[in-house]
C-alpha cells in the first residue's frame, strides 16, 4: 500500500503524517508513507489545499488533519486494516 502526505511541511502537515503513521502501525499493515513537499507535484493531484492524503492514488482528504479512525477506514477499504 502506498500513502502520500501532500504538504510543504507546516505543523498541520506533520500532524497529518503522525496520525497516518499511527493508524498504519495500529492496523499492522505494510505501507509506504511518503511526504510530498514539491509544490508542482502537489498541484498535480488537483487539491485545493494542504495537508492532503492520498491512498493508493486516491485522494482521501484535503485541507485538514484527518481523524485516525478515518485513516483506518481508508486502510480497511483497501483491504489493509484489521482493526
Amino acid at each position: 500500500m502506498e500513502i502520500k502526505i501532500l504538504g510543504p511541511g507546516c505543523p498541520k502537515c506533520r500532524q497529518t503524517e503522525k496520525v497516518v503513521k499511527e493508524a498504519v502501525a495500529e492496523c499492522g499493515v505494510a505501507a509506504d508513507v511518503e511526504k510530498v513537499t514539491d509544490v508542482m507535484k502537489i498541484a498535480g493531484y488537483g487539491v485545493f489545499g494542504t495537508p492532503a492524503v492520498v491512498v493508493d492514488g486516491e485522494v482521501k482528504s484535503v485541507g485538514k488533519i484527518p481523524r485516525k479512525e478515518d485513516v483506518k477506514s481508508w486502510l480497511n477499504k483497501q483491504g489493509g486494516c484489521n482493526g
Binding site: C10, K12, I42, V47, V62, G63
Partner: protein, 144 residues
C-alpha cells in the same frame, strides 16, 4: 491548487461558472479579484465537472463553498449537484439585477456588485458544503 500550505485565508472556496456571456465572465472576474484580495480562493470548476478525484474530494472537504452562476441555467450548481455536494452559498448574478447578454464586456460597477454579493452570501451562518467537517480545518499553523 495547493500553492502554499494552508493557503486560502478564510477557507472559502469560490466556484465560478465562467460562462460565455457577460454574466458568466462577471462570475469569473469577481472570483479572480476576490482571490487576489484574499477573500477566499478560486478553484477549478472544470476539474470538478470532469470528476477528477482530487478536485472532487477538495470540494467535499472545503469548509465553505460559494457557487457563482451567471444566469438561472445554473451550470455550476448542476455540477455540484451531480457529485452530491450540498449547496449552501449560491449566487445567480442575474438575480442581482444584471441583465445577461453576449457582448462579454464587463462594467466595473457590475464586478463590484457581484463581489459584494459573494461576500454577503459567504457570510451566511450556515453549515459548510461538507455535511460534516471531520478532523481539523482552517489554518492554525505558524509557519505558513
Amino acid at each position: 491548487m495547493a500553492e502554499t500550505c494552508c493557503s486560502g485565508g478564510n477557507g472559502v472556496m469560490i466556484l465560478a461558472c465562467s460562462g460565455c456571456s457577460n454574466t458568466g465572465q462577471l462570475s469569473n472576474q469577481a472570483a479572480v479579484e476576490l482571490t487576489r484580495e484574499g477573500f477566499g480562493k478560486m478553484f477549478c470548476l472544470a476539474g470538478i465537472g470532469g470528476k477528477l478525484p482530487g478536485f472532487v474530494q477538495s470540494v467535499k472537504d472545503a469548509p465553505i463553498v460559494v457557487v457563482i452562476d451567471g444566469c438561472p441555467m445554473g451550470c455550476a450548481k448542476a455540477i455540484l449537484e451531480d457529485i452530491h455536494v450540498p449547496l449552501k452559498h449560491c449566487l445567480v448574478i442575474t438575480d442581482e439585477g444584471i441583465e445577461k447578454n453576449k457582448n462579454l464586456q464587463l462594467e466595473r460597477s457590475d464586478i463590484d456588485r457581484v463581489k459584494a454579493a459573494v461576500k454577503r452570501i459567504a457570510d451566511k451562518k450556515e453549515p459548510s458544503a461538507a455535511p460534516e467537517t471531520k478532523g481539523v480545518s482552517g489554518c492554525g499553523c505558524t509557519e505558513c
